[in-house]
Point group: C2
Chain length 350, copies 2
DNA sequence: ACGGTCCATGAAACCGGTTACAGCGAGATG
DNA sequence: CATCTCGCTGTAACCGGTTTCATGGACCGT
């Protein structure tokens, strides 16, 4: 009998481990073992405990468990609150987020998006991480965040950064081969017969921005194409910045016949500026972007772009994090290869 | 003096409340009060405790705190693992996620994305919520998830669902005025002089899908336009589904001169199908979408659409959740108004 | 000098798990 | 039969906070 679960709130019958132990006539320790170390407990006892647990709806309390073991199985997601710079608000990172969550999930880790409760000290995130017993932390490039990042890297909390280099005993990063990708882009444009290849860059203080510019310059040199500073315009990684930058490029003395844009969002802006100027893509100007976010495929005539391995980001981050959590030293940085995706914006015929 | 922070691992000096209490010559209880109930403790003691806390880098352990208080200040995010249906993977929900996180953050709540550790029972989420002492839960429409949802609504955990109706003592939902929005769309098309207005719907088993279809039908009736079943094609809320649906519409005996598409992603697909068929938007066929996700503004000729109040979703959800957490009964459902955003796809001249 | 408030604090139990260590009984071994 | 192993289980301390309740002292009015 004992229909303890009389009321509809049966679900809320808060059963503790001692309660369950009492019902089974064993000690709490044994119950604990049933869940954490099943093989050491006698098969019959084990079955009975499991059965009873199911009956009364016993669920271990994770807070208590974390308190005792110091493992939370949670990874913190550092969310830049400065919405003006490319943070999680950027479509690229939104697409990454999914992959990251999936990869972590697969390894049994939860993802905690911390409330950045107003306090904006350098160590706000380290503090948050420690308060919550986070097993690890993921953060993305955030321009001027260095102090925060350094604190984290030094704190000993396993930490992987996306796109921004960081090294420490328990800190590493994953990024795309930005230099190589940019070179692919320029080479492709050159192979299409373009000669005056301009570029729209990301903000100079961001790592991807700087590296993609570097790749652009390197490949120009290799191809023995002239480097013209007036053919370099800085954007902000978003549509409007790309549009403005393109307008500036169109006003230069010698109009470019191609432009490598260091981000798809900006590239979409560039397309718009070009069409507003009454010019055609790719006939008058060929465009190659970077990222391969969803819009790239959707905007006519189809944006040729350097695709980043977005699922790879999440997977690599999760893998590095978990290995560090399990005691390993920080693995070397992962530089993910990029691939050229050819669409209409750089080729006459699709 | 006292450069306690000699070693780099100073940050890791795990200070407990008893340690801090000892250093200050007070009891743990007092220290606890300093942080939770500052006004009841003597000003001098308080200052001293705070100072010492800063010196030794004391941080309260949230797990211990949660264990004792049963409040975690965490809200769970239910993440549909079934990637075939419109879940968090859909751009619309990605845009919502930002707002939700921000709104919750502002109220001091963290957002926990739970690992759905393989177990696919109806009550998996209730169990997860209880294990982690979640203060509340947010979930999105997920088609066939009803059992899960019901479990949650009955469990007593404060819970707000996005887009899918649910009612319970601690459960409510927020959604857009899908019927009204659809009617706005149809009316707009009619005002542009269109007569044969078709529609591409979301999957019939989704709530927004059904409601937008209903709005379409209602407005047709009101305008005394004929309702033709062959002018209704079902999509999947994604680009490819919209494209396929549009192709079917183009094959009907009487070709429509306008189409209301119940989602921007699908609308983009529709645009593509139309252009592939050698037709022009808006000259031959006018298109109105739903959602106003980012691409809507980017894809030529600009997608006229029914905008959902994305920030409103997050804000309303957070508000409802927090009020329930604080003891209030479930507030009534919030139906957010939609607004018509006119772009090139429905008007000859922008 | 005395009883009553009020303020500030401390002692100790409690939240719900984990785990080091000790103990016990059964079977194997000499 | 004594002893040793081994498999299984229980005791109790511990994780790091919170909170109830009791208490001690300062201050007040009479």
């Amino acid at each position: 009998m004992k229909p303890v679960t009389a009321r509809c709130d049966s679900v809320w019958s808060v059963a503790t481990i001692r309660e369950l132990a009492r019902l089974c006539g064993v000690s709490p320790a044994t119950v604990s073992r049933v869940f954490n170390n099943p093989e050491v407990v006698n098969a019959k006892t084990r079955e009975q405990v499991l059965r009873t647990a199911r009956q009364i709806g016993y669920l271990p309390n994770e807070s208590a468990r974390t308190l005792a073991t110091k493992k939370s199985f949670m990874v913190g997601l550092l969310w830049d609150t400065d919405h003006r710079r490319p943070g999680w608000r950027h479509p690229f990172f939104q697409e990454i987020l999914i992959g990251l969550k999936t990869a972590l999930s697969g390894r049994g880790y939860h993802l905690l998006m911390l409330a950045t409760s107003g306090e904006h000290t350098d160590d706000a995130y380290v503090r948050a991480a420690r308060r919550h017993n986070l097993d690890g932390v993921v953060m993305i490039d955030s321009g001027t965040w260095d102090p925060s990042l350094r604190h984290l890297a030094e704190s000993g909390v396993p930490c992987v950064s996306l796109d921004r280099p960081v090294q420490g005993p328990k800190a590493t990063y994953v990024t795309s081969d930005n230099v190589g990708g940019a070179r692919q882009a320029v080479r492709h444009l050159h192979e299409q017969g373009r000669q005056a290849i301009a570029t729209i860059t990301g903000p100079a203080h961001t790592r991807p921005g700087a590296e993609r510019l570097q790749g652009y310059q390197e490949e120009l040199a290799l191809l023995r194409l002239p480097y013209r500073p007036e053919h370099v315009a800085e954007g902000d990684f978003y549509v409007t910045g790309g549009e403005a930058a393109m307008r500036r490029l169109l006003e230069t003395d010698e109009r470019p016949d191609a432009v490598f844009v260091a981000g798809d969002e900006m590239a979409v802006g560039a397309l718009r500026a070009i069409s507003e100027a009454g010019l055609k893509v790719p006939e008058d100007i060929a465009v190659v972007g970077f990222d391969d976010i969803e819009v790239a495929a959707l905007v006519p005539p189809g944006l040729t772009t350097i695709a980043q391995d977005k699922d790879g980001f999440g997977a690599a981050a999760a893998e590095a994090l978990v290995s560090m959590i399990n005691g390993a030293d920080a693995p070397p940085a992962r530089i993910l290869p990029t691939t050229l995706v050819v669409r209409g914006s750089s080729t006459r015929a699709i």
